[in-house]
Structures are given as C-alpha cells and as structure tokens.
C-alpha cells in the first residue's frame, strides 16, 4: 500500500485498486546480488532471428506508418489460418479480429466493451495479477471464484454456479493458467460451457499459453459446442514465439463484439506497433519449428523441476502447460509471502508468493522454469537447503 500523501486529483477507480504484490519482490530481488530468479513470467529465449530480421526489413522498407486500426489485413488473414490450423477455430479476418498491444490490451478492451457499471465479472483465481484490476477499471466488479490444489487447480463448474448472481456478465478463463500451469481438458471445458450457457454468460478466454501444453492436445474454448458465439478469444505472440517485449496480441470473437472493441482500440491505441506486426507475420508463416523447439525445452525443464520439488517434499501437481510450477509450501508452516521473502534473503532465489495471484494462491509459490538448466539445478539445490535448514 502506498502511504505517501495522495493527490486530490486521482479518480476513485484508480484509488480502489492496489499496486501489484509482485512489485515488492521485484524491488527486493533487484537490490540483491547473485540472485537466481524463478520469478520471471516470460520465456528465456530471445525472439527467433528470422522474426527480428523481418522487422528490420520492414523498417528498411519504410513501413513506419500506422496500419489499419484492426492491424495489417495480411497479418489478420495469417492469424485466421493459424488459429484454424492449430486450434480448429475460424474467424473472419475482416471483421472478427483485432490486433492489439499484447494480450493485456485485448483483455482491457474486451472488458470495457462488455461491462456496464456495477456488473460482475467472474475471475478464476489464482489468476494473472491484472484481471481483477482491469475489471475494476472497466467499471465492473470482479468476483473471485477459487480453485484448489486438491482439484489440481481446475475450475469446478459448481463453483461458478455459486458465484453467479443476476449481475454476472462474464467469466474470465485462462488455460493454461498463470500461475498454476493447469490446463482445462475438453471435458472440463464442456462442463463449464453448460453452466455458461445456463446463465447466459460471456466468456473471455485468455489462451496466451495455448501453444505451451505438454500432455494432451489443446482445446480452445470457442471450439467447444456452440461457445464460439459467446466467447472472446484472447491470444498473442509473447509466450509461444518468445516475443514479450514486442507487445503484440490479438482478440477474436463474434463480429458485433469485436467491432465494439475495435471502436475503443481505434480511439485509445490507433493500432498496434507496425514493426511488431511485420515481425508477427513472419512468426506465423515460418515460426512453428521454433515454437516446437522451445516447447520441447520447456517440457524437459518441467520434468527436471517437478522431480526436484517432489524429492524435497514440496507437493506439486504436474502442470499441463505454461512454464510455471505451483508447489505447496504449507508443510513449512510459512505463509507464501514469508517463504518467498526468507528464501530470497537466505538463499538468493526469487519466487513469487502465491498470494499475489489471489487468496486461493496462499500456501503456494510460483516458480517459472523458463531459466537455464544450470540455474534451475542450482536453484533447486538452494531451495532444498533452505527447507532442510528450517527443519
């Protein structure tokens, strides 16, 4: 909580949201030496060279002006082909898609396009830190629905039922999930779809980690039953193509909703960065082999880390996707924040306390395994020593 005196000019809505709990750990970890960070929420690969080179080329050719508001048509057409090929969902490049500044902006304009003041949006927790604040800033009320380690952090349809009121407008889903790595199977999604249909909800499905699943083929939410007409699908290039800093994402969905989102986008953003759009085009056309290479490497490191955690007695479900493990640290008797802080101070390993991802993340820590094998092994050694020294 910021304690210094606040300006009288600030709006109530911005005052009502808290700064992210991650911030404190960032400050603490940044001030220390010899830190191995498992706290990074992005790939450890540099963007594949052909993608960077394509962006250079576009700049050399003088493509430095705005693009269409919705993004380069050529890119949107390629996104259509890609989404159909990879996930079996089809969207019209002309009017059912907008290219955004990261998936984060897509979530923002999706919420602003559909939420009326006071309407409720269900946020499945533990969740990415920005969901609830983005709902609040859109004038809505975030309603957390918790998931639990006993269910491998899978959303239970009956818990949605319990949270639904007459004010519920939408539900924000994220599979594979950040921070838990949990992937919802086709059957899970079908059950959720029934509840969604029953209560006439809209689904905002954040599928940014869809390429990074390791055990079974991925099911995209709009491909389930007739969910396409009530789903805004959010994705992007950050995780699969190692392009976080390019800030490029997209949203797909029914025409009327996407056109409403485009209206917000055109007034507030104009368009996504042109050079990043050219890079993304190359990523879609020639990048699948790199996605496979990086995914294979994450899969190996997932195996390394889950085995090591298991051996030191931190119980952990095997996450089906993303690049996070979310082990329980309840056996240590520490809160997740205490654990993370002490681990950082004593052994210089940075992890993120589960509590920053919502109340149901308490008792867990998020470790990203998107870090070199040598660093992961050293980090696991240090965590093991930290736990043994406490006993």
């Amino acid at each position: 909580m910021i304690t210094e005196q606040r300006s009288k000019y600030l709006s109530d809505s911005v005052e009502s949201i808290q700064p992210s709990g991650i911030r404190r750990f960032f400050d603490l970890a940044s001030s220390m030496e010899n830190v191995i960070s498992l706290g990074v929420g992005e790939p450890d690969f540099v963007t594949p060279w052909n993608v960077i080179e394509a962006s250079y080329h576009s700049l050399e050719q003088g493509y430095t002006a705005y693009t269409a508001n919705a993004g380069l048509l050529e890119l949107r057409k390629e996104i259509t082909r890609y989404m159909r090929r990879r996930f079996g969902v089809t969207y019209n490049a002309e009017n059912e898609m907008v290219v955004t500044v990261g998936a984060s902006q897509a979530i923002d304009i999706a919420l602003r396009a559909v939420v009326n003041p006071g309407e409720e949006v269900i946020v499945v927790e533990p969740s990415f830190v920005s969901y609830a604040p983005t709902v609040t800033l859109a004038g809505g009320v975030p309603v957390p629905v918790h998931t639990y380690s006993k269910n491998d952090f899978k959303l239970q349809p009956e818990h949605i039922e319990e949270a639904v009121t007459e004010k519920t407008k939408a539900i924000l889903l994220c599979s594979p999930n950040n921070p838990t790595g949990t992937v919802l199977s086709k059957t899970d999604l079908q059950k959720i779809a029934q509840v969604v249909e029953k209560h006439d909800l809209l689904v905002i499905s954040d599928e940014i980690y869809a390429e990074l699943t390791y055990d079974e083929p991925y099911t995209s939410f709009p491909s389930v039953g007739n969910m396409r007409e009530r789903t805004i699908l959010i994705s992007g290039f950050s995780k699969a193509f190692a392009m976080t800093g390019w800030r490029l994402g997209f949203a797909c969905g029914p025409k009327d909703i996407l056109q409403a989102m485009l209206k917000i986008h055109q007034y507030t953003m104009m368009c996504a960065p042109t050079m990043a759009q050219h890079a993304a085009l190359e990523a879609l056309v020639n990048g699948q082999k790199d996605v496979i290479r990086m995914k294979e490497s994450y899969r190996q490191r997932r195996s390394l880390v889950t085995h090591a955690l298991e051996e030191m007695g931190l119980s952990c479900h095997i996450p089906g996707g993303a690049f996070y493990v979310f082990p329980s640290i309840k056996s240590t008797g520490l809160s997740s924040e205490e654990f993370a802080e002490q681990l950082l101070l004593k052994e210089q390993v940075a992890v993120v306390p589960g509590s920053v991802f919502g109340e149901s993340g308490e008792g867990h820590i998020r470790c990203s395994y998107a870090t070199s094998i040598a660093k992961l092994e050293e980090a696991m050694k240090r965590i093991k020593r930290f736990i043994e020294n406490r006993e």
Partner: protein, 164 residues
C-alpha cells in the same frame, strides 16, 4: 533410433557435460536407463566422442592457424573418392575432410601452429599425393560462430528479475 534416443542425443550434443542425473530428470526416465542408453549409443558409434569448444584466442598466446583447403582429385576406379580421402584424413593435422558437390571434390580442414606450418603440409604432403590435381588454401582470419556457438556472445539474461 527411437524418439528417446534422439532426445538424449540432442541434449548432449548441446552440452556433453550434462550429468546422467540431470539428463534423467529432463527426460523423465531413470538414471539407470540413461546410463544404458548412453552406453548403447557409444557402443554403436552413434556417439563418437566428447569434446569441448574452446576459444583459443582467449587467455593464451598460443595461436592456432586453421585453413580450409579445396582439393580437386582424380577418383580411383572401384573405390571412388574414399581411398584418396583416407590418405588425407589419416594425417593428424587434418581436422575434417568432406566430399563436396560443386567445383572441387574434397574440403580439408587443417590446423597448425603457424601459417608456415600449414603451408608446408599443403606443399609437401597434400599436393604431392598422386590423385591430387590442385589445391586452393583459405586461411581462417576470425571465428565468429563454430558448431552452433557464437564466440563473442553476450549470454546475460536481459529480462527483469520478477514479472507477472
């Protein structure tokens, strides 16, 4: 070769010093299985050896000179290029020999302490072989990348230390 063997080979091709225990965990198999698989691949000569990639220009005055020589030869009846190639690759200063498509036949890499030493090898040993018609010698001036490794790479992690 099955998928597991291929995965193992790709791992140790990148880093030959990975511990068996690490390989086992990365691949989700037991250490015994890992050990057996490596022994099998060594026995079958799929794995030929292990080496380090060294930047000799760093921290030592001991220079090494590498030359790549394009060699045109007359193939021998019955054995084609293989016999000539063998005559060449048996010299210890020869680091690599490849049969090439295109305007010349064999590409030969030679390593020596000085340019003169390499030159001597070419004029005295290589050119004098019966089947060798001509040689063109190129000296390597600087190595930027070798076996997939960039020599001056800045390996530093450029990500911020904690992010959502």
């Amino acid at each position: 070769m099955d998928a597991k063997e291929r995965e193992l080979l790709q791992l140790i091709e990148k880093n030959g010093r990975l511990e068996n225990s690490t390989i086992a965990r990365l691949m989700g198999i037991s250490e015994d299985e890992t050990k057996q698989m490596i022994e099998k691949l060594e026995k079958e000569k799929v794995i030929l050896g292990y080496s380090a990639i060294i930047n000799w220009t760093k921290g030592t005055d001991e220079g090494a000179v590498t030359a790549m020589i394009d060699v045109k030869v007359t193939p021998k009846r019955g054995v084609g290029f293989d016999k000539v190639a063998e005559r060449i690759y048996r010299f210890p200063e020869v680091k690599a020999v490849y049969l090439m498509s295109g305007v010349y036949d064999l590409s030969v890499s030679i390593e020596g302490k000085t340019m003169a030493e390499v030159g001597r090898f070419v004029s005295e040993k290589l050119s004098t072989l019966d089947s060798v018609l001509s040689t063109t010698t190129h000296f390597i001036l600087k190595k930027y990348k070798h076996d997939g490794l960039v020599f001056s790479e800045n390996e530093e992690d450029k990500r911020i230390v904690v992010s959502p």
